[in-house]
Amino acid sequence: MQSAGAYELPRLSMVGEALLVVEFGAGLSPQINDIVIAFDRFMQDNPLNGLLESAPMSKSVVLRFDPLLVSPEQFGASVKDVFTPFYVATNTSILPPKRWRFPVCYGGETGPDLAKIAARTSLSQEEVIAAHQSMVQRVLMIGFAPGFLYTGMLPDLFELPRLPQIKPMVAAGSVCVAIGQTVISATPNPTGWHVIGRTPFRNFDPARDPPVVIGAGDELAFYAIDQQQYADLRESAKMGVEQTGREAKT
């Protein structure tokens, strides 16, 4: 299970009185993200005394616990105690990921930074779009806002710095890139990332059950749609996403 970039043993650190961060590596890699997602599942299947919730981040799992029930020391010790059984269990039971076809209307008004990325990399916009769709992307985590997806890793041309100026508000469904990752919003948000398109799909809808459909560890295969298709899919309930891997309907 141990791989390049992973710590020998996960590092534990407290944030405030009630969050314990279990960090599996210094940098981000698919292998570390694999371990993160497996450990999050393990925590849900084998809850520790005092654990209130577990959430996977890119390279760490955040555990919220009740410090009135267990002290941070006790809780940290119980987390360390499960590392061995966790690694043993993980070697035998990694689930294949769910895979989704994921529509994006690239460029134009809804993706104003696509042209700038093309100019910067001396590629055509079509080539940038093709590169963005060229590899299946893994959902690294959900964070920042309800249903907000972080996915990676993209080809090198997307190793872009974040923008110097935050855009105060971009629309729900914005598809944005930077640092080799794509982020996809489900609600209007500020962003410091390059906006290259918009998806009709919303990964958060409080009226839907479950409100968040795509989770950490899932895989996205981006496909391009035009503005008319975007408008049509917004009208329909399905919004263009389609599950094609694990547990998908046949």
């Binding site: 944030v15 009630a18 964070g143 309800p146």
Partner: protein, 348 residues
């Protein structure tokens, strides 16, 4: 006819809030809930509600309200807002009855920022993801997922026994510019000199404060981290102190983004959060680092004190001013004595 609270006029930041929405971190949703958790609990006790019901949270400015369909039992807690029914002043921390036809007029906060208007029976909106709290940024929960507006009619749940004329002694005025914090995992990104400067600096609360966060200002040179941006997003705790490019701290609060990539120097301890969020614009703030053990001790004390609140309720009769004068002079009953005694030490 079922009872309701009608909004005749609303300040800009009145929203339905309860104890929050735990368990959704993996979906990118912070817990939210009332900014002043202690005041929510106090208000709940004053109107005799069970746990988990929703109240109205007001930031800086109240509004004008009317009871519809029957009398309502209400109480104000948290920051001290000027309030009256018709022409009669209403005391905070004292439950009272609003009759149909009367108008409750809540003005500006006289101290602090966040006030709560609790109602016997609670605001009966449908829970979303297990909570009635309004998530304003994402537009869901509460009443239509938004702050209240003129003309809104808020359904009120079935109340138990009517519970007016109960009092608690407020300790909101016990505000201190010393705010205890724990150094964060990323504190090392700032270097020792910058950390020292951070705790020696007297910051000022600015007008840029809301449910998401509060921006602080200082005339001193900006606090600089060695790295402007931590490469990867990690979890953000309630009370995290983020120092962004401008070198001015932003404290991240109930409706914060649950993850972020900017360096965070530390976290305000849970026991001092109410004190912090009630510091009004222009007030000073000094951060005082404490150990994890001290934070935990304060956390346990805070919960122990909240557990004692029900025993501190005092039934008052007749003129609430008279009762309040008696309470404030500590002239009646041993229970009140213990309240004021706790009050001297308790900032939590």
């Amino acid at each position: 006819m079922s009872r309701a609270l009608k909004v005749l006029q609303a300040g800009p930041y009145i929203s339905v809030q309860d104890e929050g929405r735990p368990g959704w971190l993996r979906s990118g949703i912070a817990m939210g809930g009332a900014m002043d958790a202690r005041a929510l609990e106090e208000g709940r006790l004053l109107v005799g509600n069970e746990r988990g019901l929703a109240a109205l949270e007001m930031l800086g400015l109240g509004g004008r309200f009317e009871a519809v369909g029957g009398p309502l039992t209400l109480a104000l807690s948290g920051a001290d807002f000027a309030a009256q029914i018709d022409d009669n002043p209403v005391q905070p921390y004292h439950s009272f009855t609003l009759q149909p036809g009367q108008v409750l007029d809540i003005g500006a906060a006289k101290n602090g920022n966040y006030g709560l208007l609790s109602i016997a029976g609670g605001i009966d909106v449908k829970p979303v993801l297990g909570s009635r709290s309004t998530h304003i940024r994402a537009g869901f929960g509460g009443f239509g997922g938004r702050p209240l507006q003129q003309g809104d009619v808020l359904p009120v749940g079935k109340a138990g026994e009517q519970a007016s004329d109960w009092s608690l002694v407020s300790n909101t005025s016990q505000s201190d510019e010393k705010i205890r914090m724990i150094w964060g995992v990323q504190a090392s990104l700032f270097g020792e000199e910058e950390r020292q400067r951070f705790i020696e600096t007297r910051f000022l609360v600015t007008h840029e404060l809301d449910r998401m966060g509060a921006r602080l200002a200082t005339d001193a040179a900006p606090i600089r981290s060695k790295k402007a941006l931590v490469a990867l997003s990690g979890a953000i705790a309630l009370g995290d102190i983020q120092v962004i490019g401008s070198g001015r701290p932003v404290v991240l609060l109930a409706d914060r983004q649950p993850t972020g990539g900017y360096p965070r120097i530390g976290t305000i301890i849970a026991a001092d959060l109410v004190n912090f969020i009630q510091r009004p614009a222009g007030a000073g703030v000094r951060f005082m680092p404490v150990s994890q053990e001290q934070a935990l001790k304060a956390y346990r004390q805070m919960h122990a004190r909240r557990a004692e609140l029900p025993g501190q309720l005092v039934k008052t009769f007749g003129d609430p001013f008279e009762s309040h004068r008696l309470l404030s002079h500590n002239l009646i009953s041993g229970a009140v004595g213990s309240v004021t005694k706790t009050n001297d030490k308790d900032r939590s």
